[in-house]
């Protein structure tokens, strides 16, 4: 069965296309790494996959349902890029966050033994059971990311979508975190990971999709290294940058100056805060 299916998906803000004519399938059990330069529309593509946005053109299907119409919330877990920001200030314990994973299944009723069991085993699975009563804001970046994964495990989600989860982590916790994702994938969870660090993705993911508005590559990880997709995708972006802003050093994956993305940011924020 296909977890996510995109056919000829285009998404634009006004006249500015952010994602252009992307078609790809994510079969269940796959670990898909979504790479591309900053501003390439990979975060937008992830939200399109989850049905959080509707494409301007084309169709997105999530577990064989139109994504915008999909209603089995517990099957989908999403760790947004800014998810950890919110976690910093709010007084909330690890257990409270992991319990949220059960909310799509049980929003108003009493927590059953199953619910409690799922929360406990999720905490165990990612090795944070001893932190259960700690405040999330007091944790390290790596521990905090594990909390979000535990929330997905508590939901017993089939699809885990993460948007650059390790940006703020040191190399060691990053390695450990990706090991964890690899393990979960081996146990059958479908993972879609947006990541700018190509080395990390190619080491873990089973398939790679390389995006810069258009899809430059989609295939097995091994073939990705041999292809010239990387140069093509990143190179074209650099030309855009040179042309528009006159500074095009983009190899450091630093801050983004792509007009398409800064526009998308401006649109994103009010939506997210509403």
């Amino acid at each position: 069965m296909t977890a996510v299916s995109l056919s000829d998906v285009t998404f634009s803000y006004g006249d500015v296309p952010v994602v252009d004519g992307v078609s790809l399938d994510v079969p269940e059990g796959e670990f898909l790494g979504l790479v591309g330069p900053n501003g390439s529309g990979k975060s937008t593509l992830l939200t399109l996959m989850l049905g959080l946005r509707r494409p301007t053109r084309g169709e997105v299907r999530l577990f064989d349902r139109p994504a915008h119409d999909f209603s089995d919330g517990e099957r989908v877990a999403y760790v947004a890029q800014d998810a950890t920001d919110a976690a910093r200030d709010m007084p909330v314990t690890v257990r409270e966050v992991v319990r949220m994973g059960r909310y799509p299944r049980n929003l108003f009723g009493r927590f059953s033994a199953d619910d409690r069991e799922a929360v406990a085993s999720a905490l165990d699975r990612v090795d944070i059971a001893d932190l259960a009563d700690r405040r999330v804001g007091a944790l390290s970046g790596g521990q905090r990311q594990r909390v979000f994964v535990a929330r997905a495990l508590a939901a017993e989600a089939d699809l885990l979508a993460l948007d650059e989860p390790t940006v703020a982590l040191d190399a060691e916790s990053r390695e450990a975190f990706y090991d964890l994702l690899g393990d979960l994938n081996e146990q059958g969870m479908t993972v879609v990971l947006v990541e700018h660090d190509i080395g990390v993705v190619t080491a873990r993911a089973s398939r790679i999709a390389c995006l810069n508005k258009r899809l430059y590559f989609h295939g097995d990880t091994d073939d990705f290294a041999d292809s010239d997709a990387l140069a093509a995708a990143y190179g074209s972006n650099q030309r855009v940058l040179d042309h528009d802003h006159g500074h095009g050093h983009h190899h450091d994956h630093g801050h983004d100056h792509d007009p398409a993305l800064s526009h998308s940011d401006a649109r994103d924020e009010p939506e997210d805060e509403s």
Partner: protein, 328 residues
């Protein structure tokens, strides 16, 4: 023991009460009014008279002070309870915005009364306008490019501007009555106001208890909540309406300008104390109660403005907690 001024105010505002009662669904039944009257005189009056006897503080026996205390006890619960779902989403200004638009509602009601002779209870006007404003704010944030703080600032000032223009249209004749809405007052809290506050309080506490999980999820991680197919828009609408309820029911004692403080200050104070969200809710309510009771007492003893005293006490509590936190 009975304060003649308060009695007169009660008689004067009895009309207000029945009008509000016929329009606010919770106060519809006469039976409810009867039960509430009994509650106010027998239970609340009894408790406070006993307290007055034990402590020797005579003012605890005055009915209007009892109403003031009962009011702040309610506000102390509902303010932080609703505010907790606003503060952590950077929506602290929502309460202030709705309070200022509620002022337009009060002005509108007084304006209709003065010009057309339509007797609209001012608090009903405030409630209707504040709920409409809550929905407008949400639409502005959702459907336009306006950032939420800019949208809030526009609605806040727009509401207040409308209110001030409506007042000036009546030639200043109603501006006397406006003052008590702007700054709040202890002495003018009527049985109707307390009735409104208590019933709103029950609605707010009940709603938060039922919708606690969606509220927490959306507060903590709105995008993930949407991905999990929670009805985020419905949750946001509920929160806006609850906020409107809180500011409108509390503005008689706190005043339009200050009413939002109890949505924010106790919550921020508690954010340093609680570890879990539930704990911080509890501490927030505790901080709100302490600020309310201490503020009203100080206001009475020294003849100060009630709303201002409550807010200053709440802020002092915040400073004390922050300082204590730094020292330990």
């Amino acid at each position: 023991m009975t304060d003649p001024v308060a009695l007169a105010a009660t008689n004067l505002l009895a009309v207000d009460f029945s009008a509000a009662g016929s329009l606010a669904p919770l106060l519809v039944a006469d039976a409810f009014t009867g039960i509430f009257d009994w509650f106010l005189t027998a239970v609340v009056g009894g408790v406070f008279s006993w307290l007055a006897g034990v402590t020797g503080l005579d003012f605890l026996g005055y009915p209007y002070m009892q109403r003031a205390y009962l009011s702040v006890l309610c506000i102390g619960v509902v303010g932080p309870l609703v505010g907790s779902f606003l503060v952590y989403r950077d929506l602290s200004m929502v309460g202030d915005t709705l309070a200022h638009t509620a002022f337009a509602g009060v002005a509108l009601a007084l304006f209709l009364d003065a010009t057309l002779g339509l007797a609209v209870p001012p608090l009903l006007g405030a409630l209707v306008v504040a709920v409409v404003a809550a929905l407008v704010v949400q639409a502005l944030i959702e459907y336009t490019d306006a950032r939420s703080d800019a949208a809030l600032a526009m609605v806040l000032t727009g509401g207040f501007a409308l209110g001030s223009v409506l007042i000036s249209l009546t030639g200043g004749g109603i501006s006397v009555g406006i003052n008590q809405y702007l700054f709040g007052s202890l002495a003018t809290v009527s049985r109707a106001d307390v009735g409104l506050l208590v019933s709103m309080g029950l609605v707010v506490v009940g709603s938060v208890a039922v919708a606690y999980r969606p509220l927490v999820y959306v507060t903590f991680d709105e995008t993930a909540a949407r991905a999990s197919r929670l009805h985020v828009r419905a949750v946001n609408t509920l929160l806006s309406i609850l906020t409107a309820f809180v500011v409108v029911s509390a503005m008689r004692i706190m005043g339009v300008i200050l009413v939002a403080a109890l949505l924010v200050v106790p919550v921020v104070t508690a954010s340093r104390l609680g570890r879990s969200f539930k704990q911080s809710l509890l501490y927030g309510v505790l901080a709100g109660e302490l600020a309310g009771v201490a503020g009203v007492t100080v206001a009475y003893l020294y003849g100060l403005a009630a709303g201002g005293s409550i807010v200053l006490v709440a802020l002092a509590g915040f400073v004390a907690v922050a300082a204590g936190h730094r020292l330990t």
